[in-house]
Every structure is written in structure tokens, then in C-alpha cells.
Amino acid sequence: MASPQATATDRPAPEAPPALRAAARRKKLVPYWLLLPGILWLLVFFAAPLVYQASTSVQTGSLEEGFEVTWHFATYWDAATEYYPQFLRSVGYAATATAGCLALGYPLAYLIALKAGRWRNLLMILVIAPFFTSFLIRTLAWKTILSDGGPVVSALNSLHVLGLTDALGITEGHRVLATPLAVVCGLTYNFLPFMILPLYTSLERIDPRLLEAAGDLYAKPITTFRKVTFPLSMPGVVAGTLLTFIPATGDYINAELLGSTDQKMIGNVIQSQFLRVLDYPTAAALSFILMAAILAMVTLYIRKSGTEDLV
């Protein structure tokens, strides 16, 4: 850590009194003291469990006989081949939910950032208001909303939409609950604020004079959006999609409460391997595969969107 203080005190003036030098030395240590609590926290609650999981993933044995590290890497292969449908489904649901969040969140963030005027703060509070209620309670509420006799199903029925969605395979037997639609809706709902907040931040930061300048240079409002507003909001788009996509891929609550066995996501598999089947190595291996897959996808995405210097 080459802090400016450190370089300044590397060569103390020869006549510096000892008291002054001691003070300088103490000052040099300040950054490390400030880092200490965070580092300790990460060591205990992140690094240590990670190492523990890694070791678990290469163990064999059973709950009765105990588990032992046997460097049994085949667990990874077995887990991946057995559960790849759930992996693909997780990525598919998360990607759809992310797209949904972007489609719903962008216009809203745009409105709040650029058009809301004095209503801006109130609207932002409304966006984060759901956080005041438990995630679980809100998802359970969706169970009621999407239930067979509930308002959504009757509305869709009277519009004869469910026949079409049944045919497309996103609903089943004229019901919404326990279908892919329900899970994706739940994910979209639960992660929407994570999309809106970064979008709002980057839209709000755009200098309104740039939009005026575009208009002054013959850009129609839609062209101004396409050529100036949207490119400048890319950091928010990237951050929002990551904040939505990453947790949505590993989510299990929405599939658990709003889906059936046919909508199980990888999070549900990991949960049941850990808590029901008690096959710890498989659960740990699945967690690592998920982590690696997400890392790979995110890296590719950031490369592709070319926003490394913007984020």
C-alpha cells in the first residue's frame, strides 16, 4: 500500500525528533487498522466457509460413517450431468427475469430520473418500499395473487390468454401458479428494485445539456435516446442486469413457493441436497459449479458490452 503518507515518511528529514517519527509511524499504520475489521469478517464468514465447502466437495462418505477427503473430483462430473437441466432452467429463468426487469425498470428509472421533477424522491421511496416487508412474505403474497381463483387467473381467463400461454408452455392447464410464468414473475418482482436503483443512478447523472446538445444537432428525441441517453446509461444497465441476474440464478425461494417440481431451479437442488438428502459433497460441488458458471457468464458479458471502463 503506497499511501502518500508512506512515501513521505520513507525518507524522514535527518533532524526529525523521535516523537515526530513515532507519530509518523503510527499514521502509516492507520489504513491497516481501518481494514482490519472488514478483513476479519471476510476471513471468518467468507474465506473459511469457502475453503470448507471446497474440501467438502471432494469428500466421500455418508452421514453415519462420516465424510473424508478422498479428492473424489468425480462428484463434480456426476453433479453436473445429473442436474444440468436445473442449471439450464436457472439460467433461462434468471435471464428472462432480468430481461423483464430491464423492460419494466428502464422506463420507470428514466421517468424518475429525467421527468419526475419534485416527485423524484417520493417515487424512489416507493421503489424501495417493498424492502420494508420480508422477502418471504411478499413472495407468499404472490402465491395468493396467482392462485387458481385469484384475480390474475380470472383476468387472463376472461381475456382467453391462458390458452395461448398453455400452448407456449409457459403456463399449464389454465393455471398460473406452479408454472414457469409464476416463477419468472416472482423473480422479476423480487429483483426489480436492484435493476431500477443502478439505472436511476446512471440516468440521473447524465448532464441534461448533452440531451439539449443532441437536439440542437438535429437529433429527434428518439435518436437522442438511442445515440446519447442509452449509451450513457450503459453502466447502469450492466450493473442492474448483474445485480438481478446473479442472485436470480441462485434463487430458490421463488421456485419453492410459486413453482412445482417441474420448475426446480439449481438453488432448490442445492438446498435439498444439503438439508434433505444430506449429500454434502454433491451440494458443495453444485455450489462451486454454479459459482464458476456465473463468473464465466459475467466475464463474457462485461467483455461483450464493452463497458469495463464505464462500470
Binding site: E212, A214, D216, Y218, A219
Partner: protein, 389 residues
């Protein structure tokens, strides 16, 4: 170079008719009639909040006027959105697109009008502003002066009928600003486009513009050539805002002749009647104004050497500051009646070593250099002390 070839057109006339802008109860621009002759370099000069930028933005279409019309070359454009108006703006702090490089910034307007082959035009334009080597840089990699030139290039490449400049040099340091003033003036002469320049810097307005409109409180106080405004201000605001003026309240002793006879304290002063903006009447009051550089200082011991026919006022030097080309004196005099002391700028040709603070002096000037203003106005309007009046 197509971008800079002098065009046959003589520039577009801009006509504002009864144009005004209010925000709720606040009137930013009072109904205003203004005609900017085609091909001229026109400056809107005023302190911040005087309505000059609002006026400019109404011409650009960035602000909807509360009333009145904007005409370009006789065509009413009041209802047109900015992207349909044949004008371009150089924004204050430039508003360059940070996600586009210099080349794309300059090409932006051409591309929006569906012009496919922009390469030659953009290249020529970048050469004109001497930024050819910077085409692929991003705006934030350029210095303030370079960004300013990109902003000018980005606007000029479209051959607008009118170029609007909103305090374009405000962010530059003094030396660069001087250089850019001359540069902009040169470009304007070359392309013959009508330039409307908004600035709060009176020196900048006078250096660059053919015609200056001095704005104050949402109104145009006076409009004219820089020299006319300077030599014959019509209000105390113009007199004080454009350079420095000594304003002396005086009684009119005789208004019958071609030269008015005025009295301030014990001094009798002459003022040509035609240099007076109000109709004077004997027994009334007037403000007589004189620019500091028009006044000569003579030590009281040499009072006899002052030629006849000059206005004379006595005083005592309060402060003197040497600034190289000149020495600026502040002189306490009975004629100011306790108001701000009189300012005198003496060129450093032959310095009289007796002219130091405390010295008794005679101030004298050619009566033809003075001007008369309505005494009903605030004497401090347009000065720092009278800000906002």
C-alpha cells in the same frame, strides 16, 4: 475546404418580436424586440440572471417563449423544436458527448441529417480548429481550450444559419480566452454566419461583437456598436457595467446654450447638450459621467498650467495602484458628496512623482468627453456595490 469557404449567403437575420419568458411569478425576459442583422457578430451582454441566456435558448428552441415570436430570415420558427431549427449552439462548458470520440462528436450533426460520407468534412473541420491529430481521442482527454474548439467545430460543420454561443469562453484562463476571442472573430469573418454570443464579460463583448445589447433585469438597456455604448452610455447601468464610469450628481445652472452649465459642489462643469440622454431644464439635476482614462491629473501646485475650457474638479489622492501600462488613482473630491471616490487612469508616460496618496490635485477633462444621464437612476447600478439593481 468546403467547411470554411466563404458562402454567398450574407447570413441570416434573426428577429425577435415581443418575446418574453416567465417562470411562474418570475419574469426572466420582459417582452423584447430585437433584430440581429444577417452576418453580424452580435453580443448579449449582462450579469448572471439578466435573461441573456434565456433569450439565446429561446432562439435555439431549448426554451419555449411565454409570448412573442422568433423569426429566422423572415420565417417564423417559434413552434419548431430544436432539431428542426437551422441554428447550432456552442454550449457553456461545451456539452461534448463523453462516450463519443472527437471525430464522432463533430460528425454528430451531419449523421443526424443522413449525410453518409462525412469523412472529408469532418477532417477539414478538425484541421480548421487545429485538432486533426486528436480525432480519436475522447473529450475528457482534451484540455479546456481544445474541448472548446471541438464544440465550435461540432456546431459550425452544420453550416447553421445562426451560431449561438453561450458563454463559450467562460471556463478558459485569461490568455487562452484572448486567443479564442480572436479565433472566433476570425472564423466568423471567414464563414459569414450570424453569430449571437452571450457573455457577462464586457471586454469580451466589445472585442468580438459588431453590435452589443446590454441586458439588465430581463430588458435590453442599450444596443449599439461597442464604441458608441462605451462613449455614450444611456443609463447608469451601461455606464458602470461597460468599463468604469465616474458619475457626479450635479445641478443644472443653465440649460439654454449648446453647452449645459452644471454645478457640483463648488465646481462648474460644462456638458454638450447633445451628449445628454434626458432633456435638461434649468434648476433640475443631472448625472454627469466621465470615463477614468479621459481625466488628467495635475498637482495642485501646477493648477495654473491647466488649459482653459476644460472641466476642473479638485481633490486629494486616496490610493494609487501601479499596474504597468497605467497607474490607477482613486481621488476623494467634494463633488462626489461622500459617494465612491473618482477613478482616474493615467498612462505611464511621464510620471509626476508628487502624485502620491495625500497629494492635492486638480482633475480636468475635455467637456466633450462627458455624458449626461437621468439623475433619477441609481448611481450604483451595474457596479459591484449596486448588483441586482
Amino acid at each position: 475546404m468546403t467547411a470554411t469557404a466563404p458562402t454567398e449567403r450574407t447570413g441570416t437575420e434573426v428577429r425577435l418580436t415581443k418575446i418574453s419568458k416567465s417562470y411562474g411569478a418570475f419574469t426572466a425576459v420582459h417582452p423584447l424586440d430585437l433584430t440581429v442583422p444577417g452576418g453580424s457578430f452580435f453580443a448579449l451582454l449582462g450579469a448572471s440572471g439578466c435573461g441573456k441566456t434565456t433569450t439565446l435558448r429561446m432562439i435555439a428552441g431549448l426554451e419555449d417563449p411565454s409570448s412573442g415570436t422568433v423569426e429566422l430570415a423572415g420565417a417564423d420558427v417559434t413552434a419548431l423544436p430544436p432539431h428542426k431549427r437551422p441554428v447550432n449552439t456552442v454550449f457553456q462548458s461545451y456539452a461534448l458527448f463523453p462516450h463519443l470520440d472527437i471525430y464522432e462528436n463533430v460528425a454528430f450533426g451531419l449523421r443526424r441529417r443522413g449525410i453518409k460520407s462525412v469523412k472529408k468534412q469532418v477532417g477539414d473541420m478538425l484541421d480548421l480548429v487545429q485538432l486533426g491529430d486528436f480525432a480519436r481521442r475522447k473529450p475528457q482527454q482534451l484540455s479546456g481550450g481544445q474541448q472548446q474548439r471541438v464544440a465550435v467545430a461540432r456546431a459550425l460543420i452544420n453550416h447553421p444559419q445562426v451560431l449561438l454561443l453561450d458563454e463559450p469562453l467562460g471556463a478558459l484562463d485569461l490568455k487562452l480566452r484572448r486567443q479564442m476571442q480572436l479565433e472566433l472573430k476570425r472564423i466568423q469573418t471567414e464563414v459569414g454566419i450570424t453569430f449571437i454570443h452571450v457573455t457577462h464579460d464586457q471586454e469580451e463583448a466589445m472585442t468580438m461583437a459588431d453590435t452589443v445589447a446590454v441586458m439588465n433585469g430581463g430588458r435590453v438597456e442599450q444596443l449599439g456598436a461597442p464604441a458608441d455604448l462605451y462613449e455614450t452610455p444611456r443609463t447608469t447601468f451601461v455606464a458602470n457595467f461597460l468599463g468604469t464610469s465616474n458619475l457626479i450628481a450635479a445641478d443644472v445652472l443653465d440649460a439654454s446654450g449648446s453647452d449645459l452649465v452644471l454645478q457640483a459642489a463648488s465646481s462648474k462643469l460644462a456638458l454638450p447638450a447633445e451628449r445628454c440622454t434626458v432633456t435638461p431644464r434649468t434648476g433640475g439635476r443631472l448625472l454627469i459621467g466621465i470615463r477614468p482614462e479621459k481625466i488628467s491629473l495635475t498637482h495642485a501646485d501646477d493648477a495654473g498650467t491647466v488649459p482653459d475650457g476644460r472641466n476642473r474638479v479638485t481633490g486629494r489622492i486616496a490610493t494609487s495602484s501601479f499596474i504597468g501600462v497605467s497607474t490607477q488613482y482613486l481621488v476623494d473630491s467634494p463633488v462626489t458628496a461622500g459617494a465612491a471616490p473618482l477613478a482616474v487612469y493615467e498612462q505611464n508616460i511621464e510620471r509626476d512623482r508628487r502624485l502620491v496618496p495625500g497629494a492635492e490635485v486638480v482633475l480636468h477633462w475635455n467637456p466633450g468627453h462627458s455624458f449626461g444621464l437621468d439623475a433619477a437612476q441609481s448611481i450604483e447600478a451595474g457596479t459591484d456595490a449596486g448588483e441586482g439593481t
